[in-house]
Every structure is written in C-alpha cells, then in structure tokens.
C-alpha cells in the first residue's frame, strides 16, 4: 500500500492525464508559475511547459468559457477555478453553455470538459472564501458533479472524468488536501456513477461526501466505543446521485431494527 | 377570401386592440404592407398584412380581441366593391372609422403612423413641436405639398404667445 496526501493524489492524477493525452491541458489562475494555490500543480509547468499548464489572468468567465470552446473544438481542458467561491463569476458559462450546449444543439456537440474547484470552509477564510457550492451545482442538468472524499478517489476520479464526454465538476475540499491516505497500487480506475460503502453497520446510516466522509468515519469509531454500529456511505458522485445506494442503506437499517 | 387575424406579436401576448386602421375598406393591400396599429400591454405596434387583395370588413377600433381573432377580410385581387355589394364598414351601431380616427388620443410612444392623408412634417419641425408640446399635424403647412416646416411651427408659437399676451392684457 502506498501512502500519500490527497493533494499529491490530485497532482499525480493531473500528471498522468497530461502524459496520457496530448490534447489535455490545465488552465487556471496560478496553476503554472505559482505552482497552484493549493500546490496541486507544483512543478508541472517545468515538466510540461506553458502550452499544457496555462496561467490565466483573473477572468473566470473568460477562461471557463474558453475551456468550453476548446472542448467543443477537440481539446481536453482541465479548467481549474481556484475555489468554488470564484466560480460564480463563471456560472453563466457553466450553466448556460457547458451544461446546455448538447441539448440546445440537438446533440451535435458534447462538451468534454473537466472543471476542478477547491471548496469548503473551516480555515477562518471568512465569508466570501468559505462556501460549499457543490450542492447548488448538483442541481444543474447536463453536468456531472464529483466530490472525492478519499485519497483513492482523488487519485482516480480525474481520469474517469476526462474520459466522460460530458462536463464534469470535481470539488476538492480544502481541508482534505493535507489528509493522508492509503492507495491500493493495483487499483487502476474508479467509476464516477456510484456511491461507496466505507463502513458497514446496523444501528445508524451516516451518508456524506467529501470532507464529511472522514468526519463520519471518525464518528463511527467513536460510536463503536459506545456500542453503536454506524454505517458510512460515501456518496462520491453528487450528480447523478446514487439513489439506489441511499435507499439500500436505509432499507438495510430498517430491516435490522 | 382570406381572414386577416390578430397577430401574435410576442411570446406572452394574449390580446390586443386595433387602435388605428391605416387602410380604408376597399383598399388594395399587398403582402408586407403595414395596415393597422395594434395596442398591446407593451404599447402600440405596427402590424403588417401578409395577404394580397382587397381589404374589407375592418373590425371596429378599441376592442380587446384575442390573438387569432379575425380583424378584417381580404378578397382576391379581382374583387371589386360592385361585385360584393356596397363598401361595408362595421355595423351602423358602432362609430365609423373616420370619426374614431379623429377621436384617437396621440399614443404615448413615439411611433408616428404613416398612411393615406398623413400630414407631412419635416424632422426639424417635428422635433421643435415636440419640445413645445405642440401637435404638428394640426398646423397648416407652407412647405411642398402642404408639408409643415420649422417656420410653420415657429409661426404657431408666435401666434399662441401673441394670443396669450392679449388674454393677459385683457385680464388686467
């Protein structure tokens, strides 16, 4: 078993993607020279050059729309919006273009775009830098919304997202970046359509995603010490939501009570 | 014979009313002609007809009618009034078009309706008249073909000032 941080897992995922597909490139604020606001793209500029790691001016609407256009015309952009807080500036492009072009054009175009955003609060970053907007985005038809909550998902969800012909949003909770986790070296890929049971139990179902997953697992441990058996379901994918898994854990719970 | 219907002019237009006919019964119309001014909840809009022929049976003015209601009929090109009978306006109980035209208030929008018998007013005259709150159509025109010119508007202003001056003097 490999141990690495969630941040390192994200970084390796991006690196793999750039190595595997010449059409793939990263575009966003401070992804290049700065090394990434959260150091996810550290040193990738040196390795891949400015055509593959593209520093943008502060123009979320502009560069997100550009990512959409580039995806329409044959590239595979990974747009990084520094945090979901700034993504509101690009909301028109995400909703009215990325999510809607396939429908509006009557199926003439797919939008094979990935947008990664940091999300969440808990670091005293104050009101405008602490939002968690993945729930909003999960309500937009035409998008897929992912919330990797484990190092394994951080490592492998990106490849699946790039392989998906639709616009995929990946939300990385800022507190998770430092989290260490184990990575099965044999595991090559993950799906991006199902929830995952992280812990089985019979007294209560804890259903969460992203940062919430590790908190639920910690809570489950604490509950176990009190003689309570908690099940932890990691949603992983917020859109499309895995209703079957949610119903299954609740049904199993009802059956056992 | 074809019906000229109340047009849909917008996604949320349900009704409208004809506030001015720009043609008389028996007039020749062709596709693309502007024949009426329709008042909607957004204001007055010129309406084109997309039929060729002779227009007749014009609906009375100021009736709120749903989109798709018949506003007039268009007879084929070779139709003459003699064939079909007397030129008909709306039933006698309703005011004739000529009378109603005189009673129509000036629309608040800056749409100057065209049509037969329109008084020609020069752009400068119209602008000056608007500033002064005068209706240029009511003025006598000294320009070509009776057109109202800037000079005519200025003359009217002088005349009114002169009149009010006299009234003031009389009051004292």
């Amino acid at each position: 078993m490999n141990t690495m941080t969630y941040r390192e897992a994200c970084r390796q995922a991006i690196r793999d993607a750039l190595l595997a597909d010449p059409r793939c490139f990263v575009m966003g604020e401070d992804v290049g020279k700065y090394g990434g606001c959260y150091a996810v793209t550290k040193e990738l500029l040196d390795e891949f050059g400015p055509q593959r790691i593209v520093d943008t001016p502060l123009a979320e609407n502009g560069f997100t729309g550009a990512g959409i256009g580039a995806a329409l015309a044959g590239l595979r952009p990974i747009v990084e919006i520094m945090t979901c807080n700034f993504s509101l500036l690009a909301l028109d492009q995400i909703l009215n273009n990325a999510a809607t072009l396939s429908h509006m054009s009557g199926g003439q175009f797919a939008v094979p775009l990935v947008i990664r955003m940091a999300t969440g609060g808990g670091r005293q970053l104050a009101a405008q830098h602490s939002h968690s907007l993945e729930g909003w985005y999960a309500h937009i038809p035409g998008l897929k919304v992912l919330a990797p909550g484990t190092v394994e998902d951080a490592r492998h969800m990106l490849a699946a997202a790039l392989n998906d012909p639709n616009p995929v949003l990946i939300f990385e909770h800022i507190v998770l970046y430092n989290m260490e986790g184990e990575l099965d070296p044999v595991l090559g890929a993950v799906d991006i359509d199902r929830a995952a049971l992280r812990r089985s139990g019979s007294d209560v179902s804890l259903i969460s995603y992203g940062l919430g997953v590790s908190k639920c697992l910690a809570a489950a441990e604490a509950l176990a010490n009190e003689g309570l058996s908690a099940e932890v379901l990691d949603l992983r994918v917020l859109r499309p939501l895995d209703h079957a898994a949610i119903l299954a854990t609740v049904r199993a719970l009802l059956r056992s009570t | 014979m074809a019906d000229f219907l109340m047009p849909a002019l917008g996604a949320d237009m349900e009704t409208g009313k004809v506030v001015q006919w720009l043609v008389q019964p028996g007039a020749r119309v062709k596709s693309g002609d502007v024949v009426a001014v329709v008042e909607t909840h957004k204001g007055a809009i010129d309406v084109e007809i997309f039929l060729d022929g002779v227009i007749d049976q014009l609906v009375p003015l100021d009736q709120e009618l749903p989109v798709g209601a018949v506003l007039a009929q268009v007879q084929p090109q070779d139709y003459t009034m003699a064939q079909g009978g007397e030129a008909r306006t709306a039933p006698a109980s309703e005011p004739t078009i000529a009378t109603v035209l005189q009673q129509i208030a000036v629309p608040t929008v800056a749409v100057i309706p065209p049509g037969p018998g329109r008084v020609r007013v020069s752009p400068a005259a119209r602008r000056r008249a608007q500033t002064l709150g005068l209706r240029p159509d009511g003025l006598s025109g000294s320009g070509a073909n009776g057109a109202v010119t800037l000079a005519d508007v200025e003359a009217e202003l002088t005349r009114r000032e002169g009149t009010s001056g006299i009234a003031e003097k009389a009051a004292r």
């Binding site: 329409l72 015309a73 492009q93 | 989109v67």
Partner: protein, 332 residues
C-alpha cells in the same frame, strides 16, 4: 495585398442575392410568427445583411463561427440549409437542432457554426476557446465571433479580447453596432462610442466600416479575415449598421422615432447595391426578377418542408442532456 475587391457581374449578383435571401427569409418569419407558427422570441436582421454576407464570403469551410440570437442571416450566409433552419424555427425534429434550439440557438456542426447564443456576450469566451483549440489542431483556421455593441458593455467582452490578445488567438471579433442594445442607445451605454477604438486597450488591431455599404463591408471583412489568418492575431471589426425592425417582435420601439427608421431605410444596403449594379449594367430587371423568384421559391419550399415536419417525440425528452460520446469527434 490590395484592398480592392473585384465586383463583376457574377460576384455582384451573388452579393445581392445572398442579402435578398436573408431579407425575404426574415419577412417570411414575421408572417409565420404572427400566425403563431414560430413561437418564443424572434430577432430579425433587416438592414444588417451586409455584415453576415460580407464576413461569411471571406471565411473558409475550416473556419469557425460564433453568433448571437440574431443569427438567421449568419446561418444562411454560412450555408446552413434553409430547410433545416426553417424547420428549426418551427420547432420540428427535422430542424438543425432537432427543434431544441429554435430561432436563438442555431447550431450546425458541419459548417462549424457554434450558435446561436442568447446570453449577450456569452459567445465571446467560447470563440476564444475554439480559437485556442484551432491554433493547435487546425492551424490557419480562424474563428469569426459576432456580437452587438450591447455586448461591449459586458465583462465577457473585456475578458475575451484580453485573452485573445495575450494568447495571440486567431479570432475576428465582429461587432455589429446597430446603435441600440434592445432599447438603450449607444451613447447612453458606452463611454467610448467608437467601438473599434476599444481594441487599443488590448493592443489589438481594429477597423470600423460603414456596413450600410455592402461593397465596403465585403472589402473590410476580406481584409480583416486575411489579417487574422496571416498574422495569427485577433482583430476587432466594428460594423456600423442599423436594424430596420424592432429588437424583437414584441417591441414598440419607443426608444426611437419613426423618422429615424425611415431615414435609415433610405440607406437600405440591398437597394443601394441594386441601384449601383443597375447603373453599372451588372444587373437588369429580368435578372432581378429571376433572383427574387428563385429566392421566394426556396423559402416557399423551406416553409413547406418545415410545416410538414414533426415535433420531437416525448420519448426523446432526456436525449442530449448528457452525451454518450464526443459526437463531434466520433461518428459512432
């Protein structure tokens, strides 16, 4: 490269025909809309024909086009088949977008026609991205991006021109300055009403053209396209034009006088070209009549095709919300 564009009989008649085709198509749309055959919003191009025709004339098949919701002219001039366009307007599945797009969202993959964008300014970032991809994958191809002067006030204009400039992207930004952003006149909306001057802020080349002169417009478009293509750098072309009809069907035009419109109609570019060609013996009454008849026949056929079309079945409701493959790259 000379700025001259030879306008011989063939070229002249084609220019005339293409503009007339758009004008007659738009007129037919008015009738169809009034009769509720076309629903929703309808934005017409009367008076602006030289812009679409002039630019498309200068483009190649491999170039890309991004347009606005007032795009019937661009679509027709680009070669989107009239049948497919009319069926789309009537919301039929035989339309170019399965009836999903309607008047404001015309897309045609084969002609690299990327909409039909109804958010003012929303297409400019798309154009930047398409040009980014083309610069790498289709060197020599350019992206022509149409927008009105109203879009100039949107932040997306600033962001897109800046991006195109710093990244040296082959985008031709075509500003159709028809003086009114819906009902707001240019002088009330813009601190700099000479739109082409705004390119200076991005150190981008630009030009302004009187788009009521179809020949001048064709020349300007030709030069601008060539400059973008050879210089592989963006360009802003401000086309000073005028729309004879309202912003959309449901517009009382309270923001402008009838006289102003009539004044501009006297500068009708189609009539202007017709007269010029007539005076220079490049067209006669017979040729004119033949062109008109041909154009109207094509429109009649398109309307018949569209009326005979069918709506999308309910079973298709969830199609194209998500795609199962990148269709524009993989046929199957």
């Amino acid at each position: 490269m000379s700025g001259k564009l030879t306008l011989d009989r063939a070229h002249g008649q084609r220019l005339f025909r293409q503009m007339l085709r758009i004008r007659r198509f738009e007129l037919r749309c008015v009738a169809l809309y009034q009769a509720q055959r076309i629903r929703g919003f309808l934005h017409l191009y009367d008076g602006e024909e030289p812009v679409a025709v002039g630019v498309m004339r200068a483009l190649q098949a491999s170039d890309a086009v991004v347009a606005t919701y007032r795009e019937h002219g661009q679509a027709l001039a680009r070669g989107v088949p009239m049948n497919a366009l009319m069926a789309e307007m009537l919301g039929k599945v035989q339309g170019c977008c399965h009836g999903r797009g309607g008047s404001m969202h015309v897309f045609d993959r084969e002609r690299r026609f990327f909409g039909g964008n109804a958010i003012v300014g929303g297409g400019l970032p798309l154009a930047v991205g398409i040009a980014m991809a083309d610069k790498r994958l289709r060197p020599g191809a350019i992206t022509a991006c149409f927008f009105g002067e109203g879009a100039v006030a949107e932040g997306a204009f600033h962001e897109s021109l800046n991006l195109a400039a710093i990244w040296r992207l082959p985008v031709l930004f075509v500003c159709e300055n028809n003086r009114y952003a819906m009902g707001v006149p240019l002088q009330d909306a813009e601190s700099q009403t000479e739109v082409y001057r705004k390119a200076e802020a991005y150190r981008m080349a630009s030009a302004q053209v009187d788009a009521m002169d179809p020949v001048a417009m064709a020349v300007a478009a030709h030069q601008a396209v060539a400059q973008v293509r050879t210089g592989a750098a963006p360009f802003l072309l401000e086309c000073r034009t005028y729309r004879f009809r309202a912003h959309s069907m449901f517009d009382t035009q309270a923001y402008r006088t009838r006289e102003e419109v009539e004044d501009w109609k006297r500068r009708d570019p189609i009539e202007r070209l017709r007269l010029w060609m007539h005076d220079n013996h490049l067209i006669d009454a017979d040729a004119q009549a033949a062109i008109m008849a041909e154009v109207d026949a094509e429109i009649d056929a398109a309307v018949a095709f569209a009326e005979a079309g069918t709506p999308e079945p309910v079973e298709a409701l969830e199609d194209f919300v998500l795609m199962d493959r990148v269709v524009q790259e993989q046929a199957t």
